[in-house]
Symmetry: C2
């Protein structure tokens, strides 16, 4: 499997982009013309630079508006093309992307169009070059892949083939299956991009909102299969125009990009791509997605005094300290199947230190993560001494793999049991970790979603957006089929500026309970710093739902947030725990499968209020 | 004229928003329900808070999905409404906005719909309240103002009227003129919003991209006139959902918002709104937009050593030092009608210190700016001692008003003439300041455009977007009809993060010349630090245009950027001058009226390269 990336996917100068692509392990690049034009590096020097970086140059692109009903304009296009052929010769690239024309003078007679393409292809062939003709979704006349193939077939020139771009094809809702009928050797190039479903002008959608495969809503394996079945053997190449990626550090973005191709190849192979495909997408990841057993633990990290307070909060929520680490300032707290490590080696307020999931085969899961370009973390980085493998998530959070069911015998044996520490009996309060809420850095939201999706084999089941007090928030939640591991990712829709208070983007751990009212009451009576929710919220709740007055009074008394929508969800939160972290007790009723985002703005305003009150006293 | 603003326009908690609205001078507010629901302040306390802040509460909003073909759901809506009437009574507001329904159960029989609205209006009337019914542009059945008025007229209940929202009406392309035929007393409320023309789902367009009047593409005066002609006498109220405003400091945003209404009222009055309108929009600004005579000067600010270097660069561009300030470390440099003050009182690298425009009546222009909520700057803030009035632009840049033609007798007399300083004769190089390029802070781009538009009476003639090496850039240029003052505003489409180098968003001053080749050659020979432009750019230029080989060679030799598009534009830039500032020499041919944005990415990459080279040596 050969992977390539168009330089337009990445931020920076041409030189920045080439280095990032090489560092991420790409085999080749498409050179996006404006990147070259703005570069002080000559085409010949770019050729040498790519060779030295181990990158092939697979495509030069784009050449726009070739054909014209105006012979003078077409002649000018040919002159322009000859100049670009000069550049290609210096670069040492033999394929150029020619887009269908978008001008009012685009040729509408397919015979004439084929003739003009043939003329270009002949000139290209004379110099050992080839033309990959692509239908832009908004082309004036040619805007479907079927039409571009018709014209190419009609021209029937050996130096003329089609370029297939998943965005242009899937954004129009075209069926990719007939691609299998195009002779593979006439598919000169393949460009891959995903995108969210957006109801907007297709050009704007294409130029700003493309994503790497697996980050959007397109079915890329279903697109790739017929391309491979046709016999395409070229590189899998990414062409993604995305406003966020265009301004983000190209290093991580290139890794994210390459991970998307590895995951796509795996998904395509798993879906049965057929024998012809095997050379292209064979086995890039090898280890199958792990079978998860649930959240093994979360680690909370704080400076020592804050860590003591964290322990107190956990105790008030019904957790029991069951052990202390043999050699590190780490305590183990448990309740039901929920396990929390409190690590006092932090330097600031409370924050999420690490995630850990149970898997049937931790070494295989870690190997898979590495194959998917997750950096393996050095041993000393972890809270435990047992042989726990850990990789770094895109935001740097360590992700541990623990063996399912091997809680006591495995990593947990690093802890000296607390003499008084018997975990509270299951069912009396918290039963397990329901989910972890991760607020992601602005540049890495889609990357994080793809990371967890591919590395843990999770499915993105919930996506949403809500208006919070300090700006809009996007949310995306992933889970396994058994709902044993849930991650709720959020990001500010716009990168935070000076106005947003520190409380705007907290992380949290949500603990499941079968009786949130009892759990919240017990926590309150034990002195838990529960978050006060305004009366106005409950007045609105009374207007929206016909709740039992007694239930409403109970929710009001305890600060329980209630939302109903294919089931009901009750949540009660703590105040912010000295940093950007809070804890939640949650109860799901009647199959509720969401994350209570409708109530998140109320909680965020309450956290803001809470912080202001603390600051004033 | 009474002005109001919906709390949803602003960022923060309800309390933050109310304070910001009051500080900006609004008379009233619309309370957006989610803001109240998330607030710990009870409705009664909000009533008191608003009274103490001098704000009326003009509207409670929104009440959604009232009508239903399902009698049970309609009964539930009425119960919900009664609870909201309770809240309104506590708030002391008598008007509630009811949106047309968007559900699949929306009533499609206008008779039944009128009956359901009448039932609600009767209940409201019994409590002294009124219903303002609004057609959402995406309502299931009612989605035009004509339809909402038909239903209201059919219901004919004294407590039922329409709410008109400019977005819902203009986004659909509806003609607002017939609004004049609605009885004024049945227009219960008026909501104003502008928006850019976007080809996207109208709900998404509405929820994310609304702007304050004068910032978008809608003709708001043409909308407001028939509303006032109908006899509407209520407040002019803003309801703007905008992703940027929702996360920006609400203080400046509220000022920006109120300025938009003042400018709209002026524009509406100027366009002849008729006698009935005068009470609503009379004379909010008083002083007419200034007649501009051109850029009077720009001030460049730097720490002393950098200021000396700046003087050297100006000299190499053909400027002559013509004076030194009597009491401040400021030098005056001139060439043709271009005047530059170099102020050595800065603390860092070179930056734009102030702008100054010539106007026929500077005190009147300053008074107008103040009426438009521009803060008057204290006298000592300015570079000159003569009685130059200055106000602060949204980004803090001082904007001075100098008397047209009074250059020598006015502020310039603060300078002691340089004995050797005779300005170079006109026509030999720089003739005047062509424009100033202002890179705006992310949160204040639309605010800045409205500020210059209203305060200086400029027209936004050019808008664009380009993909630069470190992310997309939006541009918007404003000018007077005579093109004597031009400002080119730019902003990063996404707020800059860690990856963007400091060079990503520089400011600049562009000096006009009638012969950029001669000016550039002389500058180069005089040692000006001209920016090197890559050969690749000129190879591309040769492919795109059939330029004379000699011209192409000259452009290549001197680093002149060339773009053609309704005329041609030639520009040659300096390197970054020790900070985030550079200078340009520009020549406009054949009526070119733009700003060369197509070449900006090349220039930005060259500045990046330039900085890297400097850092390495």
């Amino acid at each position: 499997m050969r992977t390539a990336i168009a330089t337009v996917c990445l931020s920076g100068t041409l030189e920045d982009k080439l280095v990032a692509a090489a560092d991420a392990g790409f085999d080749g690049v498409e050179i996006f013309e404006p990147d070259l034009v703005a570069s002080p590096t000559s085409p010949g020097e770019v050729r040498v630079l790519c060779r030295d970086l181990g990158l092939s140059i697979d495509l030069y692109q784009p050449f726009r508006d070739l054909d014209s009903v105006d012979p003078g304009r077409f002649a000018a296009s040919l002159r322009r093309a000859e100049r670009k052929f000069d550049v290609m010769a210096e670069l040492g690239v033999d394929r150029v992307l020619v887009c269908s024309s978008v001008g009012p003078d685009a040729v509408t007679d397919d015979g004439l169009l084929a003739a003009q393409l043939t003329e270009l292809a002949s000139r290209a062939a004379a110099r050992g070059l080839r033309i990959a003709y692509e239908a832009l979704a908004w082309g004036s006349h040619v805007n479907t892949y079927e039409h571009s193939w018709d014209v190419v077939a009609r021209a029937d020139h050996p130096a003329l083939g089609v370029c297939l771009d998943s965005f242009h094809i899937l954004s129009r809702g075209s069926d990719p299956a007939p691609i299998a009928g195009i002779p593979g050797e006439k598919i000169f190039f393949l460009q891959l991009a995903d995108a969210p479903h957006l109801s907007m002008d297709v050009l704007q959608w294409s130029r700003h909102h493309r994503l790497f495969p697996g980050q959007g809503a397109f079915d890329l394996p279903a697109f790739l299969r017929p391309v491979l079945a046709a016999g395409y053997t070229g590189p899998l190449s990414l062409e993604v125009f995305n406003d966020v990626f265009r301004q983000a550090d190209p290093g991580p973005t290139a890794v994210d990009a390459r991970r998307s191709l590895l995951a796509l190849a795996e998904a395509t192979a798993l879906a049965g791509a057929g024998a012809r495909a095997s050379a292209v997408v064979a086995d890039p990841v090898a280890a199958p997605a792990p079978v998860l057993g649930g959240h093994a633990f979360v680690e909370l990290l704080a400076e020592p005094a804050e860590a003591v307070r964290l322990g107190g909060v956990l105790a008030s929520l019904g957790f029991v300290r069951t052990g202390r680490h043999r050699s590190k300032p780490v305590e183990r707290w448990e309740q039901g199947r929920a396990r929390v490590l409190v690590n006092a080696a932090g330097t600031g307020g409370a924050a999420l230190g690490a995630l850990a999931v149970e898997s049937a085969d931790p070494p295989a899961a870690a190997l898979r993560a590495q194959r998917l370009l997750a950096p393996l973390l050095p041993r000393e980085r972890g809270p435990a001494e047992a042989d726990l493998a850990a990789v770094a998530a895109p935001d740097g959070t360590p992700l541990f793999f623990a063996r399912t069911g091997d809680f006591a015998g495995g990593w947990s044996s690093d802890f000296v049991p607390d003499p008084d520490g018997r975990p509270a009996p299951a069912g009396s309060g918290v039963t397990r970790i329901d989910h972890v809420g991760l607020s992601e850095p602005f540049d890495h939201f889609d990357e994080a979603a793809l990371f967890y999706r591919s590395v843990l084999g999770l499915t993105p089941v919930t996506a949403g957006e809500f208006a919070a007090p300090f700006g809009l928030i996007r949310g995306r939640a992933l889970t396994d089929d058994a709902r044993s591991v849930r991650l709720a990712l959020t990001v500010a829709r716009l990168r935070r500026g000076d106005w947003a208070p520190a409380v705007a983007d907290p992380q949290y751990v949500a603990f499941a309970t079968d009786d949130v009212v009892a759990a919240a009451r017990r926590a309150r009576d034990a002195g838990a710093p529960l978050l006060a929710i305004p009366d106005n919220y409950y007045d609105d709740l009374a207007a929206r739902y016909e709740l039992e007055p007694r239930d409403l009074a109970t929710y009001r008394e305890l600060g329980i947030l209630y939302t109903r929508d294919d089931g009901a969800y009750l949540q009660v939160g703590t105040q912010l725990l000295g940093g950007r972290l809070f804890l939640l007790l949650v109860q799901r009723l009647d199959g509720y499968d969401g994350y209570g985002w409708a109530d998140a703005p109320v909680r965020m305003a309450a956290h803001r209020r809470n912080r202001l009150v603390r600051a004033a006293t």
